[in-house]
Amino acid sequence: MKKLLLLLLFPTLLVAQKKYTVSGVVSDAKNGEPLIGVFVSAKDANQAVITDFKGNYSLTLPANTYSIIFNYAGYEQKIVEVDLKQNDTKLNIQLVVEATQLNVVEITAKKRDENIKSIEMSSVELSIKEIEKVPAFLGEVDIVRSIQSLPGVTTVGEGASGFNVRGGGIDQNLILLDEAPVYNSSHLFGFFSVFNPDAVKSVKLTKGGIPSEYGGRLSSILDVKLKEGNAEKFTGQGGIGSIFSRLTIEAPIVKNKSSLILAGRRSYIDVLAKPFLSGDLSDTKFYFYDFTAKFNYDINEKNKIYYSGYIGRDAFNAGFFFNWGNTTSTVRWKHIYNDKLFSDVSLIYSKYSYEIGVNENGNGGFKSVGNVINYSIKPEWTYYANEKNTVRFGVQSTVYQFQPGINRFNVADSDGNISTVDFSQRNRFGWENAIFVGNEQKLTDQITMQYGLRGSHYAFIGSGFRYDLGDRATPVDSRVVLNQQEFKDFQIIQNYFNLEPRFSIKIPVDSVSSIKASYNRMAQYIHLMSNTAAATPLDIYSPTTNNIKPQLADQFAVGYFRNFGKNLGIETSVEVYYKFLQNQIGYIPTAELLFNDFYEADLLFGRGRAYGAEFFVRKNTGKLTGWISYTLSKTEIKIPTINNGEYYPQRFDRPHVFNFVLSYALTKRWELSSNFVYYTGVPVTFSTNRGEIQGLPFLQNPSNSFNNARVPDFHRWDISATLKGREVNKKGNKKWLTGDWVFSVYNVYNRQNAFTVYLRPGEQPAAIQYSIIGSIVPAVTYNFKF
């Protein structure tokens, strides 16, 4: 039946030919870890595929003998003869890491044309090796901060949580850690991300042309895959830095079948700062930690399973307590039915929570806890129908629990007995379901199309309350709550349905260039409530309710991709995009988002639009590697009662963004890197006039213009030098421990970039700029491996 359905859907499958399949897994010879994105091509057949996240590939070819070529950056090329005259062949390949970095030039004397040949557009994949080359803040490699140097990606400022993609809010990025969504990607207010780079295998950011298997967020998918532990032998790595230390160990559980990786980090600035803190601050504690683990087990040839989990927390205590963090868990079972069909079933749990308060058990003590929790199941199938069609289909179901505030307040009576007053807010629940199907189809040898459809359903469910809201007295007042109705567990309060079509096409121009175009519609059912200049860990997520409609985005993108250079080693691309967003949230001026069950009454709704052009040049091979990008864009929002109902720039609108990340291999052991960023300043709303009433100063913006000024432009230059440790000792024996030293200088020319600018009224009114980083930040980090 399933086959019949596929046949009906994809008539091209009907073309019968005598063909056989070569398939298998490509892995690292050293640690047995599967390699993602290996370019597997059949010489003389003009066909190629890329290994998936489990290292799988499958090539179906007309009966013949072929030379199958395996290419992967940083690894030696492998060519294997395969006889496909009579039957399907299983071919597992192990690739060996190149002896030294300097040999890269020779090894890449081959076509590196994935940029122009693959259907993917608006996406960038970074290997951990590339991320490690970006000079890092305090010498610590960071995934989200590296992502921020890619075209189309910006941030509100240094020290702001999250990132913005093509005019999307920080909550519009689906950040996946081994399939589990991560609600807050930041440690230390955004200076570091929650991902421990030692445990990460690959990072892929998709900004457009999003395939149908992904949904639930409008703007991007940041897919972070964790490493699998070394299945051959016990190894480890780690680092000692200025702000935190890391340790990761990998061990086989059952040799070549099962392994474990454990990775942990903890910051110790509080320990180092202790001697300098006195008086009120002597009890100050602030730190973060995270712990990442992945266990995988290859049950047999056909069944593989892994578990991965993350727990992390940031904590600040200084007479008060304030901590926040994520917890995620994923169980994923991969089943291979045959050479052409396999499935993945994922069970996912994710939680974000914060706790804030003072004097938890004492008189006057106060504590508030906020949570977002989700439980999800996602079975999906991939079917390599034939050499022209790869079909993916599946379903996903997610239950969300929102606890905006579990609040307690302690009061003592005259006898000193403490009692607790509960003023918690009501929980809300949501249930999101999706069914998706997509096909990647080679129309001709050259033209490839990817098309799919995602049907999503969302129900605002009980237990909870439905609020019916009336009009506002004036445009700046809360809506009146007319009626409240209580619903029981899983009772449906409001349903929403959306069809989300996805489409991409690649048309080659010549052997070195191609044109790609894509359209996608995305629906998002959760909303981050934040009306401050920068997002904070306290911002709460809200479900879609009867009053808050799902956010929708339609994005069109067109790009031209061309490779240059002797070995096509320089990738270039130009992409333009236009995005239209619906049901975007705005706030009345006095909106109360915390401690308020009726926050929906304080919300406004409007539409957004974002458009821009992205220019990208990337060089992956040779002594000099890195990328340069420039983005010209505009991001606007229109809400009826704000800015006189006209479009105004979003708070993360940055019209010009220029970046480069360059690395130069000076010698076999020394590598130099440099990173530069330039952003137009973000907009802010300033009052233009002032006056006094009852001796109290007030500010006035008579034209009601919103985001009518900009903070000064942001720019910064960072450099780093890495000294790689020797792998062999003087006698020529392999050392058990090798170490690299990383010397970095952040903000080399001591630019004081504005995080925000505020107006100081008074006798001599002024605009005051606040910079979070006001100096050069040098750092030394020692990284080791054993």
């Binding site: 860990p537 306290l538 709303t685 009052s687 006039n689 006056g691 009433i693 109290l696 995080f755 605009a767």
Partner: protein
């Protein structure tokens, strides 16, 4: 709660990243200056005053612009009219003789005629409870150093519907009058949900800390309307406490006005607030007296 968050980021950034502030120039278009009507009238037998000024550009040292050629008139719902005469610095005054200008339970209409335009506003005079007394007590300082005084006014909220009060404090002839000092109360507590109807004012509203021996403290309670409370809340929201306040502050919004302009042209619109109040007042000099105590336990 926001303070906790701000303190966290301050600690982190100041201690480790050498965060800094500096004055910069910002490119911004000037907006239109508008007429500001500042009309808070009460039942005291002091001179009643309404001030008319204009807003001025945010930057620069423009001198205040006083409006001296307006016609300012007050009328109550019984038909009594009161003409305010120009005094100086944009101030229009009415001097009560033996009877107060504002009487509880009456509705007042303000009319200002200026520059060919008519501006009107309306306000209702709510009642106010009497301050019984001011208690005080000498206390040690929790942070060491000299001891200080705590003063607490004893006043009970009027029972029934929510009552809105503006609590003003004068210490040694200086009115405590910054946005931070502004105390607006509902039923003697913070808001309508506090369930304090008909009960004594709660400590954070009624008490003043850190006073010195021989200080003279004057406490006043003014009855206001819920709209006036919102006006003050919005005014307070505009004041940003330093850079980190700005970071996590919401964009500055205009404060509301209850002045109705005859023209919808923004250039001709007036802003400001009209409010009528009944007041109660108590004065206390802080002279050491061990028998005087405040109602709540101290450190």
């Amino acid at each position: 709660m926001k303070k906790i968050f701000l303190t966290s980021i301050v600690l982190f950034s100041v201690l480790f990243l050498a965060s800094c502030e500096k004055e910069i120039t910002i490119d911004i278009e000037n907006g239109e200056n508008q007429l500001v009507i500042d009309a808070f009238l009460n039942d005291k037998l002091d001179t009643q005053m309404i001030q008319l000024t204009q807003t001025k550009p945010f930057f620069g040292k423009a001198l205040p612009i006083f409006i001296d050629d307006a016609v300012v008139k007050l009328e109550d719902n019984l038909g009594n009219t009161y003409n305010f005469n120009y005094y100086k610095e944009g101030k229009y005054i009415w001097v009560p003789s033996t009877e107060a200008l504002i009487i509880g339970g009456r509705t007042y209409d303000l009319t200002v005629q200026y520059n060919g335009q008519t501006y009107t506003a309306q306000s209702y005079a709510n009642f106010v409870p009497q301050i019984d007394s001011i208690n005080y007590q000498k206390v040690g300082s929790p942070f060491g150093g000299d001891s200080s005084y705590i003063a607490e006014m004893v006043v009970v909220d009027l029972p029934g519907q929510p009552d809105y009060y503006w609590v003003k404090t004068t210490i040694n002839d200086t009115l405590q009058n910054t946005s931070d000092d502004l105390v607006i109360s509902v039923d003697g507590a913070f808001n309508e949900q506090s369930n304090n109807d008909g009960r004594p004012f709660i400590v954070p509203i009624a008490a003043n800390f850190g006073l010195r021996e021989n200080d003279v403290i004057i406490k006043e309670v003014w009855s206001i309307n819920p709209e006036t409370r919102r006006f003050f809340t919005e005014l307070q929201n505009q004041s940003i406490e330093g850079a980190l306040g700005a970071l996590f502050a919401t964009p500055i919004a205009n404060v509301r006005t209850n002045i109705v302009s005859s023209s919808s042209d923004p250039k001709l619109k007036a802003i400001g607030w009209f409010s009528v109040s009944l007041t109660s007042i108590a004065t206390q000099k802080l002279i050491f007296n061990p028998s005087k105590r405040v109602s709540f336990s101290t450190f």
